[in-house]
Symmetry: C2
Subunit: 115 residues, 2 copies
DNA sequence: CCGCATCCAACTGGATACTG
DNA sequence: CAGTATCCAGTTGGATGCGG
């Protein structure tokens, strides 16, 4: 990661895909909530106030298609839906932890007041 | 990161800002190239083939405004411009490394062929 | 070499209302 | 509870061309 610059070793598609998937609007926040233990749709909703139904539902579908989460309908009344991280999704924990630490280091008072 | 879910401990603005900044289109890739040693505008251009001038210039301005990179005009003919990571930008190395490893683990053959 | 200006089609996502 | 439907303004970013 710190050797002399090699012109050949460029444009990494896997990393590219990964960083823009977790960085897509709300996705990173949703994944973090799931890592923190949220599992129900309504938990996610109330955990992230400015997130609308439309966005949450859309992102969860995308994350499911990416193999990051599973969706399980619990047949009760009223219906509940449980979302759970897959191994792949849970494996992001290290990344999200390290990035959270970075954020705390450089935005201890929130993003509007950088260090 | 793995304790029982606490409804209060939600919506982290610093992390939210961070993840969507590095996840914005091309930003993560540009930061990675800078970490790998790229410094000139033209290096970044040729390192990332599908990245246009417009996008590269725009992202570099945003990253500069975020305090992630510095921009230095070298007064030669023709003009060169050097981009360098700030401490804040360099401090992202751990995150990008860990995420790259995740990507290699789950997309060893590229994002179109997940494990 | 390093951009910026313009045009423009496509996508995004907020508001609001409604369903099983 | 857990979504979907519709509308629509705003943003995005590719293409192309020009300028210091």
């Amino acid at each position: 990661m710190s050797e002399p610059y090699d012109k050949g070793d460029t444009f990494c598609p896997s990393y590219h895909h990964a960083v823009e998937m977790i960085g897509k609007r709300w996705s990173g926040v949703i994944l973090r909530e799931l890592l923190l233990g949220a599992s129900r749709y309504s938990q996610l909703r109330s955990a992230i106030p400015s997130l609308t139904d439309k966005m949450l539902a859309a992102r969860l579908q995308e994350l499911e298609a990416e193999g990051m989460v599973t969706r399980t309908v619990v047949d009760s009344v009223p219906v509940r839906v449980e979302y759970a991280l897959t191994d792949k999704g849970r494996d992001l924990e290290a990344t999200i932890t390290v990035l959270s630490e970075w954020a705390d280091r450089w935005y201890p008072d929130g993003p509007d007041r950088p260090v």
